[in-house]
């Protein structure tokens, strides 16, 4: 099996080409070839397919695709190539689980299967921004207080340090990165969950030096947390990512590769994006030595993960991965609508049904308002997500498909002009951390709606 230094060597010795040529002459045509050769087709009438053979074809296509295309290193302008044998070897050697957290909050993050009756692992909170540190702590503490929460994505806290806007790669990013770890650990302690793993370290860290700097033990980070290293879309990597891998391997910390293929970008439509999303699990194993993966395939135009074609590719690549690639994956969905809107809950229900019944190992509670609005998240979305994960684990793919179609009818046409919704302070009492009457009422109405279409809540 190739090791990480082999990857580093290939980054210096692989075929030399411009990034433009890699995109236009390698990535696009070879992906098109693979889609055609393996006969991968999108079926808009079946957003949650239940065809194991089709899922396995997507996996086989993804192995072939990665072997044909490789990974482009932006710093050396060379393509890191892997043989099909090396990719399959990495799959065969993967442990299929990841040890996370400490003390009574320690847990094993394991892979699931399609139609698995075990609930997906509940991954709470969002890497989003708040207007104050106190609000960030209040929301994180409320989210991790749920006993079902087994891991957390920590908040970026605020987007300023002493009034100065945090800027990528600057010293302010280092301050913000360290603050994010300290604040999140404090929030977990306050909720009685000091050992809970922080799985998105370090949020909003563009520079490798920020990730490495914020990992020092005195700030509260541990190797049993999870460290995210982003794949650059599509199929690219740089020295920054490789430096993070080198550091984390030496430390022995959990490495999470992160992939966000864009449906409508270089991947083309849903079939190509499903193949690339699955190939990113493989890329995590073979190129980044990851022991878990986080993904959020996203629609290029709408910036969300709840469109019909994205749901199909989430379901398809989740099945392809969970049946064939033993790496635990966290599925993250960005919703078009925001807090305190019915549309958010319909989107979130559709996403969680598609992912959970398709074998998602962990699901992050869906992010409201595309994750771009300040203060646009509350503990209510976490409560809903946890209830939905439990309900979804009682269903199979066929049942989920029928429900997702009904849900799409409720929100699909509104995606281009989705309501951005409220902020935390608009629908919660900030002093007490309790939801307001109107949000509670809307929540009850949504639950009743969803119960009526057949979602089996407790």
């Amino acid at each position: 099996m190739i090791d990480f230094l082999d990857v580093c060597e290939r980054a210096e010795t692989g075929p030399l080409m411009t990034e433009r040529d890699f995109e236009l002459k390698v990535f696009i045509p070879k992906l098109r070839d693979v889609v055609k050769e393996y006969g991968i087709q999108y079926d808009s009438e079946t957003p949650v397919p239940a065809d194991d053979a089709a899922a396995d074809s997507v996996y086989e296509a993804s192995v072939d695709f990665l072997a044909r295309v490789g990974v482009y290193c932006q710093d050396t302008n060379r393509v890191i190539q892997f043989t099909e044998h090396e990719i399959r070897d990495a799959v065969g050697s993967a442990p299929g689980e990841c040890l996370t957290g400490e003390g009574k909050d320690a847990s094993v993050f394991r892979v699931r299967q399609p139609d698995d009756e075990r609930p997906a692992r509940c991954h709470v909170n969002w890497g989003t921004v708040h207007s104050s540190q106190e609000m960030a702590i209040d929301i994180m503490a409320a989210n991790v207080a749920h006993p079902e929460a087994q891991a957390i994505s920590i908040s970026s806290v605020t987007n300023t340090v002493r009034g100065m806007r945090v800027k990528a790669g600057s010293p302010l990013e280092m301050y913000a990165g360290i603050r994010a770890v300290r604040v999140a650990r404090d929030a977990c302690r306050r909720a009685g969950r000091p050992g809970l793993p922080l799985m998105n370290l370090v949020p909003a860290a563009a520079a490798a030096v920020t990730t490495i700097g914020a990992s020092a033990a005195q700030f509260g980070a541990r190797p049993t947390d999870g460290w995210i290293i982003g794949i650059i879309s599509e199929n690219k990597i740089d020295y920054g990512a490789l430096n993070k891998v080198a550091y984390l391997l030496n430390w022995g910390a959990n490495i999470g590769s992160q992939g966000a293929p864009s449906l409508g970008g270089y991947c083309g439509g849903a079939p190509g994006t499903a193949i690339v999303n699955t190939a990113y699990f493989l890329m995590g194993l073979v190129a980044m030595k990851a022991n878990y993966h986080l993904c959020f395939p996203i629609h290029f135009q709408h910036g969300c993960c709840s469109t019909r074609d994205v749901l199909w590719l989430v379901s398809t690549s989740s099945q392809a991965g969970s049946r064939n690639v033993p790496i635990p994956v966290i599925w993250l969905g960005y919703m078009a609508a925001g807090v305190n809107t019915k549309m958010y809950f319909y989107e979130a229900a559709a996403y969680l049904l598609a992912a959970t019944t398709s074998g998602a190992d962990a699901v992050k509670m869906p992010t409201p308002a595309k994750g771009v609005k300040v203060d646009a998240s509350t503990p209510m979305e976490t409560r809903f997500g946890i209830e939905m994960v439990k309900a979804a684990s009682r269903l199979n793919r066929q049942q989920a498909n029928d429900l997702v179609i009904k849900l799409l009818e409720k929100y699909e046409s509104q995606i281009p002009n989705a309501p951005e919704g409220d902020r935390y302070q608009d629908c919660y009492a900030v002093e007490t951390g309790k939801p307001g009457e109107s949000y509670l009422r809307l929540y009850d109405e949504v639950k009743a709606d969803l119960n009526a279409i057949g979602i089996p809540f407790d």
């Binding site: 806007r165 800027k167 083309g268």
Partner: protein, 216 residues
């Protein structure tokens, strides 16, 4: 071959993203003494309209757009010398320098906007990703650009958009360029706050915005 058939072939070559067919169609147009500007406007541009419409409706994606753009360029390599020889003017809709700002390596959104702008007749100078304010301004000066498009996909790289505008003000160049911003976390409020001339939520909106700003 009839004129209409040649123009239809040019249109189809762009729609199919076939640069070979596009070159062949351009040669046939010149051999048939078709006005090269007419070949462009009534053949090639009709093709980009079809592809652009499909893209806007979510029926085709970036690869089809790029291939259409490449076919358009291939045909124009043959038509352009004749257009120049006949001293005809191609309508100039503007030159746009486009980039993703410092610290940000995301390229797809920026590339989609660049491709859609090109297929709508803009002269696009793509200076890549991770570019600092002075590098971007230098590129705009060199290209004699009319506008600068700035993409940022992370909340921590959005300040890079402000830095470009601040630098333009400091260098007394602000009035020379229209500056438009976009990217996942970017909003109209942010564009207003930093003094940008506009915000485009997606590629199609960006084209509409720049067309309006540069050709009022």
């Amino acid at each position: 071959m009839q004129k209409n058939e040649i123009l239809e072939n040019l249109k189809n070559a762009v729609v199919e993203g076939d640069d070979g067919k596009a070159r062949e169609g351009a040669r046939q147009a010149l051999e048939a003494n078709i006005d090269p500007l007419e070949a462009m406007q009534m053949g090639l541009t009709k093709g980009t309209d079809v592809v652009g419409g499909r893209f806007e409706r979510g029926e085709s994606y970036l690869p089809e757009l790029i291939m259409a753009g490449e076919a358009f360029k291939a045909a124009m390599e043959i038509l352009n010398p004749e257009i120049k020889r006949q001293q005809k003017d191609v309508a100039d809709v503007g030159t746009v320098v486009i980039t993703t700002v410092k610290g940000d390596l995301h390229s797809i959104g920026k590339n989609i906007v660049a491709t859609v702008l090109e297929t709508n007749g803009f002269n696009v100078v793509d200076v890549g990703v991770d570019q600092g304010a002075l590098q971007i301004i230098e590129a705009a000066e060199k290209a004699n650009a009319d506008a600068i498009g700035l993409s940022a996909l992370m909340s921590t790289t959005m300040p890079g958009q402000k830095e470009v505008i601040d630098a333009l003000v400091e260098l007394n160049l602000r009035d020379k360029y229209r500056v438009v911003v976009g990217g996942g976390p970017v909003t109209q409020e942010w564009a207003d706050e930093i003094g940008a001339d506009g915000y485009g939520r997606d590629a199609v909106a960006a084209v509409g915005l720049l067309t309006k700003l540069l050709n009022p």
